[in-house]
């Protein structure tokens, strides 16, 4: 009973979770940016037909970071339900922004569904480069929130 009470009082509210996961999402996105440089350094990007990593120049760099934060918001809304399998959920959560990218943003940008107008390798690259997003977001959220939600 006492432990239960303490968990409730020590817990973070929904709006606090959302705010924390917004910040975590930014860190998750920063991991994606960093990973694009790792893939570039290892020449995996060029093997998949991508000639440059995500630009670090201002103001371009702020866009992926901010969008990472925005994707952190729904993650924060769901984190309570996913707490017990947080890292699995986090790892799979990358599918949410990826699906939006594949089905909305890339077709709107003229690259077609799944970016297939630029070839299947480009789709594979996008899948690969975004992989760290969900798991890093989850790890950071967990580090900030602590053991009890």
């Amino acid at each position: 009973m006492m432990e239960q009470d303490m968990n409730v009082l020590g817990s973070v509210t929904l709006s606090q979770r959302v705010a924390i996961c917004f910040a975590s999402g930014v860190v998750g996105a920063a991991a994606v940016v960093l990973f694009s440089y790792v893939l570039f350094g290892l020449r995996i990007s060029s093997a998949l037909g991508v000639k440059a990593p995500i630009p670090l120049k201002s103001p371009d760099i702020y866009r992926p970071l901010f969008w990472g934060g925005l994707w952190g918001i729904p993650f924060g809304l769901l984190i309570g339900a996913a707490w017990k399998s947080l890292y699995l959920f986090g790892f799979l959560y990358v599918l949410a922004p990826l699906l939006a990218l594949f089905l909305i943003f890339l077709p709107l940008g003229g690259a077609g569904f799944f970016g297939l107008r630029q070839g299947p390798m480009f789709t594979l690259y996008l899948l690969l480069v975004n992989l760290p997003f969900g798991i890093i977001t989850a790890l950071v959220a967990r580090a900030i929130i602590g053991t009890h939600l």
Binding site: Q16, A19, F22, V26
Partner: protein, 173 residues
């Protein structure tokens, strides 16, 4: 008889212990109530800072709409286009992190501290970023009205950040 007495004593002890225990727990829980860690406060204030920066962007459009920007020699509000819009919002978040580090200390005068907190990014702008971009200290190479505009347009940042942080954090930091 003895057994009953003993039982009563035990019950009495249990009641007393229970009461004391409850008092201790209540006291502990009051102390613990909604106590956020520094990293939680910093993360929350990052989000609050983004909202504060969004208020500045919005306010620049209000000032533009009212013709105040034009009077002060500024021809356009903060751009809403991508990717330009993300930069002020992100920097608002970064300044929010700093705010989050001392929000607990400032909690009793949060709105006053919040209102004055705009001076931190403004000083960085006036003494670092503007000189670096060639606009001179306080942006005075572009005239004193430009400095006045920057002061005015950034005014909502601290107070909106504080309000958003308070709304998210609740009564206890």
């Amino acid at each position: 008889m003895n057994t009953t007495k003993m039982s009563q004593e035990i019950n009495g002890d249990e009641d007393g212990t229970d009461k004391q225990w409850r008092e201790v727990v209540e006291k502990d829980l009051n102390t613990m109530k909604s106590v956020l860690t520094v990293s939680q406060r910093a993360a929350i204030c990052f989000a609050a800072g983004v909202i504060g920066a969004a208020a500045v962007v919005l306010f620049s459009h209000v000032l533009f709409g009212l013709g105040v920007s034009g009077t002060l020699g500024v021809k356009a509000p903060v751009s809403l286009k991508s990717p330009d819009i993300y930069k002020p919002l992100f920097w608002g978040g970064l300044w929010g992190i700093l705010f989050g580090l001392f929000i607990k200390t400032a909690w009793k005068r949060l709105y006053l501290v919040g209102f004055l907190y705009v001076l931190a990014p403004l000083l960085a702008l006036f003494l670092f970023f503007l000189p670096m971009s060639g606009a001179g200290y306080f942006g005075l190479n572009r005239g004193p009205t430009f400095t006045l505009y920057l002061l005015l347009v950034n005014l909502p940042f601290g107070i909106v950040t504080a309000l958003a942080a308070r709304a998210i954090i609740g009564k206890h930091p």
